[in-house]
Symmetry: C2
């Protein structure tokens, strides 16, 4: 029996929202592994807003995905074969093997995960990059402290949901912004934020004002655009604006919208600082330990939104931009025998 | 002989560039002084970009000037009479007495200046607010360090000219942006910046790229608008963008232009932080001491642009926005007997 590896490759650089024709679905035989390499059968691929940026040409914090390459994505799966003493068949490994069912990597580019600690998909979510992004963004860039009012956009999303929970652990008030009553209910009832405001509501501005109870000490921005400006209009003295993403702008075919209210940084002696999680590579151990401890103590809860089947990748990715996902978006690529 | 006090009062809130009809020229008798108060004959009024903001309605870091009030401005002059033990006639005093020839204030709201240290007008410039703005903005907000490349806009202006000189004192490379060849020559030849780029030139972008020799560690922004975006496009990792002003935007009748390239803060883990000099009130002593020491050692040079005659106030103020001033803009309001 020949095992076939199904893959999605980048066929063209998208203009605006990625179209089906921007992707090529390919199949090939399993790769051979060389010395020090490991073959992994992916169970889940991570679908993240940052992937949209990796599809564009030009300089950023990492090189763009090349046309014809398997689309870059975080993955978790089971080791099938290993030429490294660090892994053996049956281990579970986190990596960046891309949108495909099987992949290989040097052992140094994989991280072993312990499936007894949490379901393995959590290592792509709350115990993985999104969790680390929330942790370092809020505690280091945002310098959150007890008594702060923390506003976070994309509050029902992979990163935002954890930002608010960590804010509460740190003694701050967590106010979320999310799209729709269902997401807002999840944010307050299940995640325990003090408030969540629906940006699709006609009452958004009034509701936000009421929820903030006076102003913002930390705004954790996942969305950019108009909401960033609205937040800048409500900052307190010495506020910190954490620029984590700008999902409202990633598919723009017109120039990025700049925050007109940036001059409030001057008025309130506030700062706006950006980061990507890779900046904290040397501190991943610390972050993962904190997240795992809070998770095991029941202080952090994670929700994954799992789409099933590698064939559904192009449509699944778009849910990030339409806001249809509820929680961390994952693509299940392992096929169970029928 | 009755002494007449000539004044400029705010008559209307300007829409865009202030017009003559936004001002009322008034005369009145000298004010009486009460207990603890001091009467000052102003020699110079300071004309600063921030004054444009004080003319607008709405919340900012200080309340707006009320319609009908004497226009707020920094002043330096000679004490004529004092009901406070802290001042006597003949002392020189720095204050915020506004655009008028005489004014009174509580002694606690005045600062004595020593005319043997420097010409008194320097206490409105390099040894005053503009100097302190440059000092705290560059050293505290910008956290300048040896080896940095510091870019400053408005490099021939009151604040920018000092920013670059302090950058050099701190061991950084100073690159200025100014309007026109004359100003650029002044910045490099008299102030000693390593380079100065003319934003009015067709070659501006190429010249800037060459002058920066690789990128920006600190951008000290006095102008906002397009130049802020151009700077954001050239920041290095961990760059600091100091938001000191946005003179290109102060007379806008359309919304403020936001910096589209703010997302580069994320890519380069950089920060943008605003301030006003009043934030550092408790450290003015430290700042003034440093500036005076550097001035006496010949490490700082100041240039004032003096307009003569209080009647010329409305037109003189506009030179800030047209860029016609060469150095710190001052209005001489003392009249010499004819």
């Amino acid at each position: 029996m020949t095992i076939i590896n199904k893959q999605y490759r980048l066929a063209a650089r998208p203009h605006g929202i990625p179209k089906d024709s921007d992707w090529a679905f390919t199949t090939e035989a399993l790769p051979e592994i060389g010395t020090g390499e490991v073959l992994v059968r992916n169970h889940y691929c991570s679908l993240d807003p940052a992937m949209r940026g990796w599809m564009n040409e030009g300089r950023s914090y990492i090189p763009p995905v090349k046309i014809g390459d398997v689309m870059r994505a975080g993955t978790v799966g089971e080791v099938m074969a290993s030429n490294s003493p660090e892994f053996r068949a049956g281990d579970f490994a986190l990596g960046t093997l891309g949108i495909q069912q099987y992949g290989k990597a040097a052992a140094k580019d994989l991280t072993k995960v312990d499936p007894s600690l949490a379901p393995i998909e959590h290592f792509l979510g709350g115990l993985g990059m999104p969790g680390l992004t929330a942790y370092f963004g809020l505690t280091d860039v945002g310098a959150v402290k007890s008594g702060d009012t923390v506003l976070v956009s994309g509050a029902a999303g992979a990163v935002g949901s954890i930002v608010g929970q960590i804010a509460k652990i740190k003694g701050a008030r967590a106010v979320g912004i999310a799209g729709g009553a269902d997401k807002c209910a999840y944010v307050t009832e299940e995640l325990g934020f003090e408030a969540c405001v629906d940006y699709k509501s006609d009452r958004f501005l009034d509701d936000l004002k009421a929820a903030l109870q006076g102003g913002i000490d930390v705004y954790f921005d996942n969305v950019g655009g108009e909401i960033l400006d609205i937040a800048l209009a409500r900052i307190r003295r010495h506020a910190r604006i954490v620029i984590c993403g700008a999902i409202s702008q990633y598919n723009n075919t017109t120039p990025m919208r700049g925050p007109q209210n940036y001059i409030n940084l001057l008025v309130h002696h506030a700062r706006m600082e950006g980061f990507v999680v890779f900046d904290y590579l040397s501190r991943y151990g610390e972050g993962t330990e904190k997240l795992a401890a809070w998770y095991s103590e029941g202080k952090l809860t994670f929700r994954n939104h799992i789409e099933d089947g590698i064939e559904n990748f192009p449509g699944a990715l778009l849910k990030l931009f339409s806001g249809e996902n509820n929680g961390k978006l994952l693509l299940k690529v392992i096929e169970t025998p029928t």
